[in-house]
Amino acid sequence: MTAEFGHFALILAFAVSLFQMVVPMVGASKGWGAWMDSARPAAVAQFLLVGLSFAALTVAFVTSDFSLKLVYENSHTAKPMLYKISGVWGNHEGSMLLWVLILALFGAAAAAFGDNLPPALRARVLAVQAAIGAAFYAFIIFTSNPFLRLASPPFDGRDLNPLLQDPGLAFHPPFLYLGYVGLSMAFSFAVAALIEGRVDAAWARWVRPWTLAAWMFLTIGIALGSWWAYYELGWGGFWFWDPVENASFMPWLLAAALLHSAIVVEKREALKSWTILLAIMAFGFSMIGTFIVRSGVITSVHSFASDPARGVFILGILVVFTGGALTLYAARAGQMTAKGVFAPVSREGALVLNNVLLAVSAFVVFIGTMWPLIAEMLWDRKLSVGPPFFNQAFTPFMIVLAIVLPLGSIMPWKRAALSRIMRPLWGAFMLAGAVMALVFAVSTGRSAVAVIGAGLGAWIIFGAVAELVHRTGQSGLSRLLRLPRADWGKATAHAGMGVTFIGVALLTAWQVEDIRVAQVGQPFTVGGYDITLASVDEVEGPNFISTTATMQVARDGRPVAVLHPEKRVYPVQAMPTTEAAIDNGIFRDIYLVIGDAQADGGWAVRTYIKPFANWIWAGSLLMALGGIISLSDRRYRVAAGARRAPAKTVAAE
């Protein structure tokens, strides 16, 4: 009964979205106030209906209602409660339901906090948002209905893929989707502005918080996914250039570009049509990402349920929306004339360079991701594009970006002179040089990656600090605290990027790996740590059987940690997994993996010392934190002018 209720609520949400897509749009073009205003209650109603539908599916999972096909295929009575709940979106149908739930959430948030928007713009934004919703409701209802029943309910379910039975699944997809789908707001604003035919500073100011929020969620979502892969997959990789990772990375790069170009629109009334194009592209890439994941055209570890028919449907949605928006763009872009006048060497110029670098690097990721598909279609060649390509083709752009970032970020608007902007940065420059020298000395001269990466990271961090100091001028600390939050947010986010840079470079360059057969009780040494395999036990978990090792780590005779790496077997899914044990540290992780028993009574053991690993995710969190700080700047609040509580933090929940 609950399932039918959920199904019905979803169909109602579809109906409401159809209404919301047509009526406010007509109202806006005819100037009928009531028709325009109908968008707001409709958006809220739509959200409530999808929410009910999602709740119904959650109830089915929590109560293990195996008469639902989806629950039968993805759950099991013995599965812990957390994974029963996160299992709701650990499959195709449920994850699409989460997708539309978040889409409706953003629509409802725009309706609730959009008091300061001109009514016509608000009506059009909500109508475009509803149109996207309608397409995806149709997709779910007609091709991926989560509420299908089984004629004869089985006794128990087939369980969830063991790799997905992890707290990571509880947080990674929701954040990722908040980011992906949040970009739909930028898209809706862009299309609404194209329909209205005007883009001005006010428009940029409205669209920026939404983009910032989406970018921030995407940052957290990607970082969580990377961290999850790091500890779950058993060899501590953090980025694989897997098609699905790329699918989330491209919108991230474009959203970052959009954030920066929107500043130019807001402050200087230039780059308008480019900003609109970026907004369309950023969400376009979100949809391409959905297409890549859901259609399975490019095989990847993420496509747990891929189906060509669904792929074609999403491709249709993608073509209609991106194609439609681009056509509209082609027709209207000419009307958007730049107003600001500035020299090439200026903050504006630096932001243009930022956009060039971010957009081209997104393009590189895109072509690398699609190339296997292109090659197969054009020449019938089956080939692969993997990490070696991306590392070579993508990294140069990031290096250039890191070099120019502190310079560009400190430049004044309109006109800058390199000699003058270098003055406040000399300290940062020297410190970065010192870091490079230090790293060079420590790494015994064998690693250019470590020296360059750490130097660039330090340059960005010290550059961000130098900029804050520079902004305070002569007046010192009190002025520092009174700087606009946006300045703090910018410095924090930039410093976060520097921290991530250092983490990636030093981890890549300095990782120590050891593979051996360890005998119980016999210590071995890896990277200065003495490691002893104390015992290996068979342990039963709720829905798995585990081989758990107890390993002692010591340094110079002093105990550092006792770790329990595991090897698990999930009988229902017939799948073994490795659960690495990690001793986290600021400067290094000790990462232990237990393998198979050997004929001579020993155990295969893999040991990694991973220097600065946590800096990668700490940096990502700093970037997201910078976004939050920036968002809290009163100038950028969604409800600015309406005297409301900070809107975005509420909308985020």
């Binding site: 300061n116 001109p118 058993g234 098609p243 072509i367 059987i545 009988p571 393998g595 050997q598 009163r634």
Partner: protein, 151 residues
């Protein structure tokens, strides 16, 4: 039920995971080369994993083969060529920069040049542009401006 679970678990094929201790070459330099090569080769039956990380039996065979070739004195390129000859270019994670693949390798740099050119032209045009006459604000716009400025 529990007993059944354990029985099922015992019946499962035990997957060897990634590089095993018995595969490691005694010579650290050769082993490092083997690892480097392994990371460029894709497991033919997995989803996007290289043979260094993969658990599949064929990846183990390939890892052993790579090490065999290295010990026999092949250079890195010769080893990779030998594997590609057998399994086709699908196993190559780093597509060779020749033929049609040149497009892939050159796409980034060419696009960067075009973008820089476009950006430069735009920046030149902004530098020489004359500030437009300020347009008078409409009543509605003035109200909105007031509202924004007040905040």
């Amino acid at each position: 039920m529990r007993r059944l679970l354990i029985l099922l678990a015992l019946l499962l094929p035990v997957a060897a995971f990634a590089v095993q201790p018995d595969e490691v070459l005694p010579d650290a330099g050769q082993e490092a080369r083997a690892r480097e090569i392994s990371q460029k080769l894709r497991c033919p039956v997995c989803q996007g994993e290289n043979i260094d990380e993969s658990n599949a039996p064929i990846s183990r065979d390939l890892r052993l083969y790579v090490r065999e070739r290295i010990v026999a004195g092949d250079s890195n390129d010769e080893v990779i060529d030998a594997v590609v000859d057998r399994f086709g270019e699908f196993v190559l994670f780093e597509p060779r920069a020749r033929g049609g693949n040149l497009v892939l390798w050159l796409a980034g740099p060419v696009m960067a040049l075009l973008a820089l050119l476009g950006a430069w032209r735009f920046l030149r045009s902004r530098a020489t542009a004359r500030p437009e006459e300020a347009q008078a604000l409409s009543q509605a716009e003035r109200e909105r401006l007031d509202q924004i400025m007040r905040d």
